[in-house]
């Protein structure tokens, strides 16, 4: 398995999904996973082998700024190189290429474009089937634009060369078909899920003491948790917030996360004159992160394009119903959500206002969504993947046999 991050060194949902998926897979018989990552860290994982695929001679990699900024590679001989995200992806490809020479495996499973070329290299070396797991494509991340052509090229090539593609939602499957002309029968939809046993429950004391005091005074809290990047549609949320606050002044918007839009969003909330009602916390983990959902009366995920949207499941687990954009995959798994087009600021404001005004709406919504959440299981996802693995390993074996016979 090739991935880019695992908790607690994750920047978002990708790491969580990989972790929980692998955990479910290893519970099945006959599955051993070696998970290769581009960095060295102790994840305290015992159900699979986690390997840092570092370039030869590299002693340490220093993250300068965010996960998607350039990193400094420090070599044992003392020299240093800076690599941007594309460069890091190339370093990972080379490192994995070197590592697989000493490994035996049956199948290669790679998560998102950053690991796709490494997957292709492993396939070229071993002849093993390659499964690409698509948590997002470049058009999602670009927030409606075409995105980076270098990335699209990697995706296009990899989708063609892969033995099979796994998409986290039908939404994503459609986009892969549209953007890359990949036939639908090569793409399997495997919804993400959530391992509720892994989630630390809320305790009696919420860390947002101040927001609790506001709620006791009749205020309502609307939360978004996520990376502050163009894909997430947060500018529209702030414009909608402006309309909501005008009608329901006792509404606080809690924006948890950071990203390249962080400063712009702070400035925009000031320009809109709603700074008193918008709270920015920066990136949070652990209890602060959990309590961000726990304090919410409504969770809003207004993404311009969201392949899945794991945070919605987390929100529901911790007690908040969700308003999601229609451009979000999670809506295929949870039907009991409010829905709005990501660009429709007026309707977004309309639905948020309704939710903060009417407790019966949010309570009913959450009650039903929670029933749906309880039905979800990574076990189903794992079964689908094992079926896929078996199919492709069998095909590969028969191809080898045929080759030997000829």
């Amino acid at each position: 398995m090739l991935g880019w991050e695992l908790p607690p060194y994750n920047s978002g949902g990708l790491g969580v999904a990989c972790y929980q998926l692998c955990k479910a897979l290893t519970k099945k018989s006959d599955v051993d996973i070696e998970f290769m990552l581009p960095y060295e860290a102790d994840h305290q994982i015992d159900f699979m082998k986690v390997t840092a695929a570092l370039p030869q001679g590299v002693e340490t990699i220093i993250e300068a700024g965010g996960v998607y900024d350039s990193h400094k590679y420090v070599y044992q001989d003392g020299h240093e190189e800076w690599h941007d995200i594309v460069g890091q992806q190339q370093m990972f490809e080379r490192s994995v290429g070197r590592l697989v020479e000493s490994r035996e495996f049956d199948i290669i499973h790679a998560h998102d474009w950053l690991t796709f070329r490494a997957g292709l290299r492993a396939k070229a070396h071993s002849g093993c089937p390659l499964i690409l797991h698509v948590h997002s494509i470049e058009r999602d991340r670009a927030g409606g634009g075409d995105g980076n052509p270098l990335v699209r090229e990697i995706e296009a090539l990899a989708f063609l060369m892969a033995d099979h593609i796994v998409a986290v939602s039908a939404h994503t499957k459609r986009m892969i078909m549209q953007d890359y002309d990949i036939p639908g029968d090569k793409i399997e939809v495997v919804h993400n899920s959530i391992d509720r046993d892994l989630m630390i429950p809320l305790d009696d004391h919420n860390v947002y003491h101040y927001l609790e005091s506001l709620k006791a005074d009749g205020w309502r809290v609307v939360t978004n948790v996520g990376r502050m990047t163009v894909q997430k549609g947060l500018f529209n949320l702030l414009h909608a917030a402006c309309e909501v606050i005008y009608r329901q002044p006792k509404t606080i918007f809690l924006l948890v996360g950071s990203g390249e839009q962080y400063h712009e969003l702070i400035a925009l909330s000031a320009e809109l004159g709603i700074s008193k009602n918008v709270v920015f916390t920066g990136f949070q983990r652990g209890k602060n992160w959990r309590d961000s959902f726990g304090i919410a009366d409504l969770f809003v995920m207004p993404s311009i394009s969201e392949p899945y949207g794991l945070t919605v499941l987390e929100a529901i687990e911790y007690g908040a119903p969700a308003l999601i954009s229609k451009q979000s995959g999670v809506g295929e798994a949870i039907r009991n959500c409010l829905r709005v087009d990501s660009w429709d600021v007026a309707d977004m404001a309309n639905q948020i206002t309704a939710a903060v005004r009417d407790r019966s709406l949010t309570e009913e919504l959450h009650h039903n969504a929670f029933q749906e959440l309880k039905q979800l299981s990574w076990n189903d996802a794992a079964d689908k993947l094992i079926h896929l693995y078996n199919h492709h390993t069998a095909t590969a074996a028969s191809r080898r046999l045929a080759g030997a016979a000829a």
Partner: protein, 409 residues
């Protein structure tokens, strides 16, 4: 054109501004409603007021006052004017009694005049006249208590000045007021005279000669400056070359000496030699701001309908109120005024006043964020956004404390 009578005096009016704000610590939404200690950063953090005060006392207040005391004792003609904010006086009382004593010692020579201003170094004049007058009164009482002087001349925070302020100061009984000698206001006139503000009769206006002041405050240590190195005899030769001037208003931050310009730049040597070089020429002297106003007639009236300040190339309030974050946060703060004052909760009122200090809004300035220059030098925060978030979280906590007392916010 008038020519000065033989034997007429020509004076340097040196005015130094002493100020330290209560910087807000890294104050998060998780603190709001829990901890009300906005200004109590850990000692080793960037925002620690105690650490910064002690550092500046060591590098600037103590060594500068030691030299000033020596110069004042040696030259009875040497005079200095100073404004010292209430927030820095409190911090000196708490964290550097020795530095506070050194200020008292120079004032005790009788050659130092204290200038009036707001206790909290605020922009209250532009938001609440009642609050502004209260802070001016607090400052007056603090100065009387510590120095035994009652200020006669007023300066507003950041030298923010307009006709309304002059009118107010005139009615309040001040004999003088200070402003930036900005070209757009002076037009063809020179800052080196006493003026009278439009719409007033009694009060007089002293305008900063920003070129000469900035030669000392900003350019002194700049080795790329064509006049570097600036010596006291070179500087006084420039002043002596102005035959008609009566008063050279050299207004600057006190912290110019030893903090903005380090000891290594030679700034203290410059200060030590300035009096003797200047007094070498007969007729040259030093005056406090009051003495200059008493000694010279107003040459003309000055009309300032729009607010000017002493900051940046714009000389307006845009460094404090130029962007939406600054305006939002200051409006949020002043919107609480009536409710805060009505509580009679002195700790709450004082915290609210400390948040009015103009520095908080200066830290949110985005004008030069990308260049990382002078504004970044003065800010303890990595970004203006961080400053804004800390401030707004403190604002939220103020509203929490109001609600606790049953006040609707």
């Amino acid at each position: 054109m008038t020519t000065p009578a033989a034997g007429a005096k020509k004076a340097i009016v040196l005015y130094l501004h002493v100020h330290q704000p209560y910087r807000i610590r890294h104050y998060t939404i998780f603190d709001a409603g829990q901890n009300h200690d906005y200004f109590d950063a850990a000692y080793d953090s960037r925002e620690s007021n105690e650490r910064i005060l002690q550092k500046v006392a060591e590098s600037s207040y103590l060594p500068t006052n030691a030299r000033l005391l020596e110069l004042l004792n040696k030259n009875p003609q040497f005079k200095v004017s100073m404004s010292i904010t209430g927030t820095v006086l409190e911090q000196l009382e708490k964290w550097s009694p020795a530095a506070l004593q050194s200020f008292k010692d120079i004032v005790a020579t009788g050659q130092v005049e204290i200038v009036a201003e707001t206790y909290h170094h605020s922009l209250a004049f532009f938001y609440s006249r009642a609050e502004f007058e209260m802070q001016v009164r607090m400052h007056r009482e603090k100065v009387q208590q510590l120095f035994g002087q009652t200020p006669q001349v007023f300066r507003n925070t950041e030298l923010a000045y307009n006709n309304d302020l002059a009118y107010w100061a005139d009615k309040a009984g001040y004999k003088g007021i200070l402003a930036e000698g900005w070209d757009k206001v002076l037009d063809w006139r020179s800052p080196n005279f006493v003026y009278r503000p439009t719409y007033t009769n009694n009060i007089r206006l002293l305008m900063k000669n920003y070129r000469l002041s900035d030669d000392i405050a900003f350019r002194f240590g700049n080795q790329d400056w064509e006049q570097w190195p600036l010596t006291a005899d070179k500087f006084t030769s420039w002043l002596n070359a102005e035959p008609e001037a009566t008063n050279f208003n050299l207004f600057m931050d006190y912290e110019t000496f030893g903090e903005h310009q380090w000891d290594e730049s030679g700034i203290f040597k410059f200060l030590e030699y300035l009096p003797q070089e200047w007094l070498r020429t007969p007729g040259n002297t030093f005056m406090t701001v009051s003495e200059a106003i008493d000694s010279f007639d107003a040459r003309d009236e000055i009309n300032v309908p729009d607010t000017i300040t002493w900051a940046d190339t714009e000389r307006d309030l845009s460094a404090w109120l130029g962007n939406a974050m600054q305006q939002e946060s200051i409006h949020a703060l002043y919107s609480l005024q009536g409710r805060i004052i009505a509580t009679n909760d002195l700790a709450l009122i004082e915290d609210w006043r400390r948040l009015q200090t103009s520095d908080h809004f200066y830290y949110m300035c985005t004008k030069w964020f990308n260049d990382g220059d002078i504004h970044a030098y003065f800010s303890p925060y990595a970004t203006p956004y961080e400053a804004f978030i800390n401030f707004m979280n403190s604002y939220h906590d103020l509203t929490f404390r109001l609600r606790e007392q049953g006040v609707t916010v």
